[in-house]
Amino acid sequence: MDAILFYVSAAVAVASAVVVIAQKSPITSAFALIVTLCSLSVIFGLLGSPFIAVLQVIVYAGAIMVLFLFVLMLLNVKREEDAPGRGGRTLRGVALALVTLFVLQAGAVLVGAPAGSAPRFDASTRRMAEILFSPHFLYVFEATSVLILAALVGAVVLAKKEL
């Protein structure tokens, strides 16, 4: 049962990822990305991290992608141009080559690596909270909140019409 869910979600994720990068219209790309994110959320759940799965939907799909859509609507983006631009063909070729190289290498290495999974372990939200607020990660946790504040202020300032 889980296996089918896993592989179906995986296939969906890959398919919509291809749509994201191949589609002409940015809005279509945005929606495809949302589909990818949701299928990834399913996979997160299957891998035993419910907290992250939910977080993925709420934060990523629910907030970040909404922001993307907002901006796309605001700027009234329609279709993308066709022409690849200067040096586009060479660029595509080289990029494709490099990426393939990287993926194949990493794949060759990683295929052998992680053997199976650990037995059932406690991945509950309570456990997450205990770790996040432990002295180990507390400082980082608070620092990220400051980071978000900075990003907030920065975004407001940068997007203003006049300072």
Partner: protein, 652 residues
């Protein structure tokens, strides 16, 4: 033998340092001491220091002679300053002075004749605005010369050597506004420098052989070295020859003699002090000081003797065709120095010092006398314009006559004794050819000196009416030293020094300094006919001059015609200056300009620097197209780098 007291230790340093203090005070406060043109405060101060120094030198000699009496001499290190002069690894050179018979004689000559010349300068330089500078330089020279003769090791001697060269430059070019004077000063310094290179190299060889540059150490250990026969060039010969090169520079022997005649551009007291009595004799002193070393090298001795003889002859021939009174005396000095080196070269070192001693008296006398003549002639130096001065400036004439007699080798005057000993030495050591040449040169000496005497003091005055009016005798400050020197020129030949020989006997100067040379005692030869031969040569020379210049002047024209080719060479000074100018000066100066300056400095060095800049700029230009401006290209480069890095990490 008394113990050395603290006073004895200080005395030599006091002798040395007094003139230095004089220099320092005069150079700092000179202008303030001299209030106006008439006030000669600077001069009095300078004379004071040297006179006191002379007194101290005499005192030193007297005190220490009771203690030493031998070859060792007394070494004095400077204990008060508490430091060595040079201390580098195993190489040590302390500030030490050496007082032995040889340095005592030199010390007395330098301070004694030096003080007479200082007094003379009071009169000669009266009215010159730059007097403080002049007297400060004279004092500085005295200090350096004393350092040269009193120095206990070769480096200290060398410091004095260089110092007197510097002072010579300063004093020759004293009237620096005159171009010829500055040029002459520079010429003297540069030519000296060439000799100094030889001196330094010689010192290095000596250090290599002895491990020390202390004079007493060298003298003590020279006997232990293997003696080198004729044409056997070993380290000893090389060292001696190199040192002799330095001596030729300082003592104006061939080939480095060219500066001395030009040095006459300086004031006459300078010519008397530096170029007659003291500085030029430094070469002779050095060779004599290192006599034990030279004795070990037959080649070096021969070179010294031959160089001296040839120089003497050559200078003598040039002297007879000179018209400037000081030039005649300059070439005469070169010639007499040649005699001294001849004596040293045949092994008669004591005789060389003897001739140095008598020469100091009569040459200083002759120069100062000529200065008096020039003073009377209102600055005119050309003998063609003089004549018949003996009635007008009698004091000058009579003292000058004494000097001429001394240099010509007339019996009872000092030069006769020292020159006679030189000829004796050459004859008895088998150098017959050199003896013959030296005898002929003695004849020449008498000839040109008599010529000078006759042209200047006899006959009719040829200078014209105005000059004739101004002829006047010199002041007492100038005549006094002349008289004293005349007395010295007469008696110094047979002066006996009481108590300075073995068992307190009375001895003459050669015996006084002989122990310093550590030579094996030799039987004293006597050649009966020699004094007569020498006197005959002198008289013959005098007679030739008499005939040509006074008695039958019409002979001159025919004599000149007969000797035309030879005279041309003499007048051109054997073309030394021409050759040096063409081959040395041109090559060095113009070659440097064309090759080293233009090609190397501007071309290679500047070019390299400029090209470095151009290359950097070109490289930057070539790399510019990488910055395309497209963000995607930049991102691609980042990706490529990341992939490379990851591959390396994965597969290494």
């Amino acid at each position: 033998m008394h113990e050395l007291e603290a006073l004895d230790r200080v005395l030599p340093f006091a002798v040395l340092l007094l003139p230095l203090c004089g220099f320092v005070v005069l150079s700092l406060f000179g202008e303030w001491i001299k209030k106006d043109k008439e006030d000669a405060g600077a001069g009095y101060m300078a004379c004071g220091t040297v006179l006191v120094s002379f007194g101290l030198a005499a005192w030193t000699t007297a005190r220490l002679y009771g203690l030493v009496g031998g070859a060792e001499g007394l070494r004095f290190s400077q204990p008060y300053l508490g430091f060595e002069w040079i201390e580098a690894g195993g190489f040590r050179v302390p500030l030490s002075l050496l007082v032995d018979p040889l340095s005592a004689v030199m010390m007395l000559v330098v301070t004694g004749i030096g003080s007479l010349i200082h007094v003379y300068s009071l009169g000669y330089m009266a009215g010159d605005d730059d007097r403080p500078r002049f007297f400060s330089y004279l004092n500085l020279f005295t200090f350096f010369m004393l350092l040269l003769v009193l120095g206990g090791s070769l480096p200290l001697l060398f410091v004095g050597w260089e110092g007197v060269g510097l002072c010579s430059y300063l004093l020759i070019g004293f009237w620096y506004k005159k171009d010829s004077a500055s040029a002459a000063g520079l010429k003297a310094f540069v030519v000296n420098r060439i000799g100094d290179a030889g001196l330094i190299l010689g010192m290095i060889f000596i250090y290599h052989a002895f491990g020390s540059l202390d004079l007493v150490d060298i003298a003590d250990n020279a006997g232990a070295l293997a003696p080198e026969k004729l044409w056997e060039i070993g380290p000893v010969s090389v060292a001696c020859l190199l040192l002799f090169l330095g001596a030729t520079g300082k003592s104006a022997q061939i080939p480095l003699h060219v500066w001395l005649p030009d040095a006459m551009e300086g004031p006459t007291p300078v010519s008397a002090l530096i170029h007659a009595a003291t500085m030029v004799t430094a070469g002779v002193y050095m060779v004599a000081r290192l006599a034990p070393l030279y004795h070990q090298s037959a080649t070096a001795m021969l070179v010294v003797a031959v160089t001296g003889t040839v120089t003497a002859l050559m200078a003598g021939t040039i002297a007879i065709v000179q018209n400037d009174i000081k030039r005649v005396l300059a070439y005469s000095t070169v010639s007499q120095l040649g005699f001294m080196f001849l004596a040293a070269g045949v092994g008669a070192f004591g005789v060389a010092i003897f001739h140095l001693y008598t020469h100091a008296f009569f040459k200083a006398l002759l120069f100062l006398g000529s200065g008096s003549v020039i003073h009377a002639m209102s600055g005119e130096q050309d003998m063609g314009k003089m004549g018949g001065l003996r009635k007008r400036i009698p004091w000058t004439f009579w003292t000058f006559l004494a000097g001429t007699a001394a240099i010509s080798g007339i019996p009872f005057f000092a030069g006769f004794y020292s020159k006679d000993e030189i000829l004796l030495g050459a004859l008895t050591t088998g150098h017959t050819v050199l003896f013959g040449i030296a005898l002929f040169t003695a004849l020449l000496t008498a000839a040109y000196m008599a010529r000078l005497l006759f042209l200047t003091f006899f006959g009719a005055f040829r200078g014209g009416h105005d000059l004739e009016h101004h002829v006047h005798e010199s002041p007492w400050s100038m005549i006094g030293p002349l008289v004293l020197l005349a007395v010295g020129s007469t008696v110094s030949g047979y002066a006996l020094f009481p108590g300075l020989g073995e068992a307190g006997a009375r001895v003459r100067l050669p015996e006084v300094v002989q122990p310093v040379f550590r030579l094996p005692a030799e039987a004293v030869h006597h050649v009966a006919w020699l004094p007569a031969a020498a006197t005959l040569a002198a008289i013959a020379g005098g007679l030739i001059a008499w005939y040509l210049y006074l008695s039958m002047p019409e002979l001159r024209a025919s004599a000149r015609a007969a000797l035309r080719p030879a005279l041309r060479i003499f007048e051109a000074k054997y073309y030394f200056d021409t050759v040096y100018d063409a081959f040395v000066r041109r090559v060095v100066v113009e070659g440097s300009d064309a090759l080293l300056w233009r090609r190397v400095d501007a071309g290679v060095i500047d070019g390299a620097v400029n090209r470095a800049g151009t290359v950097a700029s070109a490289l930057a230009q070539a790399l510019r197209p990488v910055q395309t401006g497209f963000v995607r290209h930049y991102a691609l480069l980042v990706l490529a780098g990341a992939v490379a890095l990851v591959s390396y990490l994965l597969w290494s």
